[in-house]
Amino acid sequence: MNKRFLSLLMLLIITAPLFAQVDRSKMPGPGPAPEIKIGDYKSFELENGLKVFVVENDNLPRISIQLTLDRDPIFEGENVGYINAAGQLMRTGTANKTKDQLDEAIDFIGASLSTSSTGVFASGLSKQTEKIMELMSEVVLTPNFTQDELDKIKKQMISGIQSQKDDPNAIMGNVRPALIYGKDHPYGELMTEENVESITLEMCNEYYKNYFRPNIGFMAIVGDIDFDDAKDLVEDYFGSWVKAEVPTNEVKASRAPLIRKVALVDRSSSVQSIVDVAYPVKLEIGSDDAIVASLLNMIFGGSFSGRLNLNLREDKGYTYGARSSLSPDEYIADFSASTSVRNAVTDSTVDQILEEMKKIRTEGVTQDELSAAQKLLTGSFGRSLEQPQTVANFAINIARYGLDKDYYKNYLKRLNSVTVEEVNKAAKKFIKPNNAFVIVVGNADEVAEGLKKFSVSGKLDYYDNFANEVDPAAKALPAGVTIESVIDNYINAIGGRDAVSKVNDLTMEMKGTVQGMEVTVKISRKAPNKYYFNLDVGGGMMTQIQKFDGEEALMSGMGQNKNLEGDDLESMKTSSIVNAFLDFASYGITPELVGMETVAGKNAYKVVLNLPNGKKSTEYYDTETGFKVKEIQVTSSPQGDQTISVEYSDYKEVDGVMYAHTIAQQVGPMNINMTVSNIEVNKGLEDALFEVE
């Protein structure tokens, strides 16, 4: 054989110069177009209603059998996952075989057999056709669900949920449908650990009984087999499958949002943001719109050469790839434009996606773009026919979705007759930059700020991995952190228990400005709980003094004196304690570690102090430095409850203990920033300073 080619090669060498030089500067044109033929299939229906489609193809000594059940989508509610579990249980044993025996039987003949809640797929060498058919029949007709196997599946499901917590694509996969379809929709509900725990064997058995019925079944048999043999086998192995009425469900419509919303899932370890601009659309399989929409999508972002990828990858270098999708669905379809980009260009990316959406709506597409998209889809249709499975899928789609029997025969003709006007009309109908969810899974600290501008309301909606709306500041606590460790860290950070215990009295002077006026504050404290506070605004324009001598409290200013009573006095008793954190319990204070939040861009442990008077105050401790960085108190005032928030920073040492030297206080809308100018410790303050007459 090789010798023959050697001589051919010689011939080529000798004759090569005789070939006309090709003109490389011109792109070669196509030869005569080959005919694209859709292969033949044959079909029949069993008495029990099972519809069977056979595609004979002896290119390879293989056979594949696919069973698809056509049922309405089901809303699972509190038991999300039971349908999936039932689908998996189908593969875990039959009346005659344990799972081990079933696995062994399938693998022994080199076959594969997989199940889902809406079907079974088996394939292998064609010499094993009957054995494969027999195994498939056993699985479909006489499955045996056991508690043992269900428990295994549930455990795997829960592990799966856990492992997804760190997979940004899985997070997007959960959150996206929940937002665009709604969690109350079969397409939008997602599975939690609680859902999985609630799944019972009864639910799974009930599902099998209701839905594994031949009258909603389509079977495709493809490969090296004769139609007559296939028919005999199906009759033998699936003829006894009993038909029954199958429950139907109404599927609720999902609507695109009235205004554009921005949803952010914080994944602090992300080096890339996953961005998806998405919303539901109504686009039915086999509808007139479906083919036009497929061309529109191809031009917009359906391929490497789509506008989206050319812009974001080839022009800007933001991403490895960007794509859009707009595929029809029997119930409710969706549009999606998605990509993964580095954190720094997240907002620019969203901006470009929305701009491209606006542009295709307002400016439409060109004839050149349309022709290219038509060629691309014609080519992909032609290539798909290489796999005989495609012919079977076409036949099933025609039967399942009630398409015209020549739908696929006429597909290319219809595809290539679509006009620019039709695509432009579809763009206005399906591309909705103002009614979209902009969904981002990424590092909130780095990307949140830039995303606000895309939200019509100006606010970002934060979600957790399970599409629950969350407070953006809240974060999960790392393992091993306790209230004791947080307080101990704080004590160590400011100088250690010994140094802090030595503080008996303390005077602190601060300066700041409020609405343009200079403010001076002097605070003195003395152990165990004496307190003095002097506020001066505008150099004597206004003065306020508070005193607490351990028993009674007085507030004076603007010529008035007022003794504190009730709640206010009780609060004063605890808040005046010098360094209460050294021994909270002895003062009747119960601290509680409740979470982690961001304070001034850094993670901080959130601690709630339950005070003896039943009130609470909240403190935040930096996770890295250990310092207290923020405090929130709610006080009652004639105007109702008032929240006072104080942030501490710029810790500096004075006599062996660290004190915050910048104190930013916020009361309602008013911000007061104070700088500590002087601190004096253990100067032997007289009791008289604190005395209330």
Binding site: V22, G29, E104, D107, F108, L125, E386
Partner: protein, 442 residues
């Protein structure tokens, strides 16, 4: 005795049938006088044609301070040529009804287009243009630098366990350039000068380092004429092609490493050094892999995932490489399972293969599974094209596409036990433990 001969008979029938039923892949091959190898395969069933060019260059041809170079170069090959405008390569193929892609591995860089069969000339023009006239300019290089960094982030850095390949290879290979993976390091690409790309092109994209495969709905005579027209005048640069001749020294002790990653479930990944693809032992190891990891009755799946539920997934795969490579055995723990228990459970399965002879029945199953999966090489003309090129380049015999199954069938169950004992030794492996980042703090 009688049972045994029955099994033997059955074996014979199984093999005999498969050979009888499989249609032989008939192909032709020859060299152009510039050294380019050509393989033609005709199958007129569907009116499509695949044109592929395989360059025998991968990450193992890179310098240690230019890792990622071959893969980066693959990106540049789509940038444009003398007669193809920048960024138009994809567009031209797609708007003529085709699809295309490329990949870079340790050993090769492979490009292909599949088009309607009346566009064969276009495909040949496209591939010949970039073999002859590639344009490398700073705009293209700058853009692709960014794109490749995002590719790395998306596929490796931002993915749970995404770093395993890098972590494994840098420990499993200390001398051989398999030390780094094809994605390489972005830093080195930033440092590379345009002239380095040109030198790389001249050496590795020379026609004598390429295999052109044309497969599908073709007329052979017409194809040959067009191939000569488009590729015949591409000059052979006659630069000596640099290939690594480093032999990775045999391991003498186990290497262990802990990686803290953004994951929830701990994972164990073990890499054992094994001989190159195409060697007798490689086939035995490949069958061993089937024993451990193919199908739900396979030993690792059955024991770790199904019975003990130690793992959510477990398995193994040999990495077929031109130079001696690795077989990777891994498990991802089920929730609440300690990593050491997971590793012990995996080890138990490895020890079992070493210590106990496989039963005839299980061996028979392996052979059936091997035969069945072998057929998947033939699913599409593009798959056949790729197989033909690889068999030619790495095995020196494209006809292995028809005969390689015999090499698998020559493996005995004694071979499987022997290679398990010989290669699955603790001293011959790298063990990676993947643990959640939260575990690092404690």
């Amino acid at each position: 005795m009688k049972l045994k001969s029955l099994v033997a008979l059955f074996l014979f029938i199984a093999v005999g049938l498969s050979n009888a039923q499989m249609k032989e892949i008939e192909f032709e091959e020859y060299d152009l006088d510039n050294g380019m190898h050509v393989i033609l395969y005709q199958d007129n069933t569907t009116p499509i044609v695949t044109v592929s060019v395989q360059y025998h260059v991968g990450s193992k041809n890179e310098k240690a301070d230019r890792t990622g170079f071959a893969h980066f170069f693959e990106h540049l090959m789509f940038e444009g040529s003398e007669y193809i405008e920048r960024g138009k390569y994809f567009d031209i193929v797609q708007r003529n009804g085709g699809t295309l892609n490329a990949f870079t591995s340790f050993d090769q860089t492979y490009y292909y287009e599949t088009l309607p069969s009346n566009q064969l000339e276009l495909a040949l023009w496209l591939e010949s243009e970039r073999m002859l006239h590639l344009k490398i300019d700073s705009t293209g290089v700058e853009t692709q630098r960014k794109v490749v960094k995002e590719e790395r982030s998306q596929r490796y850095d931002n993915q749970p366990y995404g770093s395993w390949q890098e972590e494994m290879f840098k420990r499993a290979f200390t001398k051989h350039p398999y030390n780094w993976t094809p994605i390489g390091s972005a830093q080195y690409i930033d440092e590379a000068k345009i002239s380095e790309f040109m030198d790389f092109y001249k050496m590795y994209y020379n026609p004598n380092n390429a295999v052109l495969t044309v497969a599908g709905d073709i007329d052979k005579a017409e194809s040959k004429k067009m191939i000569e027209e488009y590729f015949g005048d591409i000059k052979n640069n006659d630069v000596e092609i640099v290939r690594p001749d480093v032999v990775e020294p045999a391991k003498t002790e186990e290497v262990r490493h802990v990686v803290y990653d953004n994951i929830q479930l701990p994972g164990v990944i073990m890499g054992y050094s094994i001989p190159a693809q195409g060697t007798d032992d490689y086939y035995a190891l490949s069958m061993l892999n089937t024993l451990l990891a193919t199908g739900q009755s396979s030993r690792m799946y059955k024991e770790l995932v199904d019975n003990s539920q130690t793992a959510v997934s477990a398995g193994s795969f040999p990495i077929a490489l031109e130079d001696p490579g690795l077989i990777v055995i891994f498990g991802i723990a089920n929730m609440g399972v300690e990593i050491d228990n997971l590793e012990a459970a995996i080890q138990k399965e490895i020890d079992k293969v070493k210590n106990e002879m496989i039963s005839d029945k299980e061996f028979e199953k392996l052979r059936n599974q091997t035969e069945s999966s072998y057929v998947s090489n033939f699913f599409s003309v593009s798959g056949i094209a790729q197989n033909l090129a690889q068999y030619h380049t790495f095995f020196g015999d494209a006809n292995l596409i028809n005969t390689e199954i015999e090499r698998y069938m020559d493996v005995t169950k004694e071979d499987i036990q022997r290679v398990a004992q010989e290669y699955l030794k603790d001293t011959n492996r790298v063990v990676l433990h993947y643990l959640p980042k939260s575990a690092e703090a404690n």
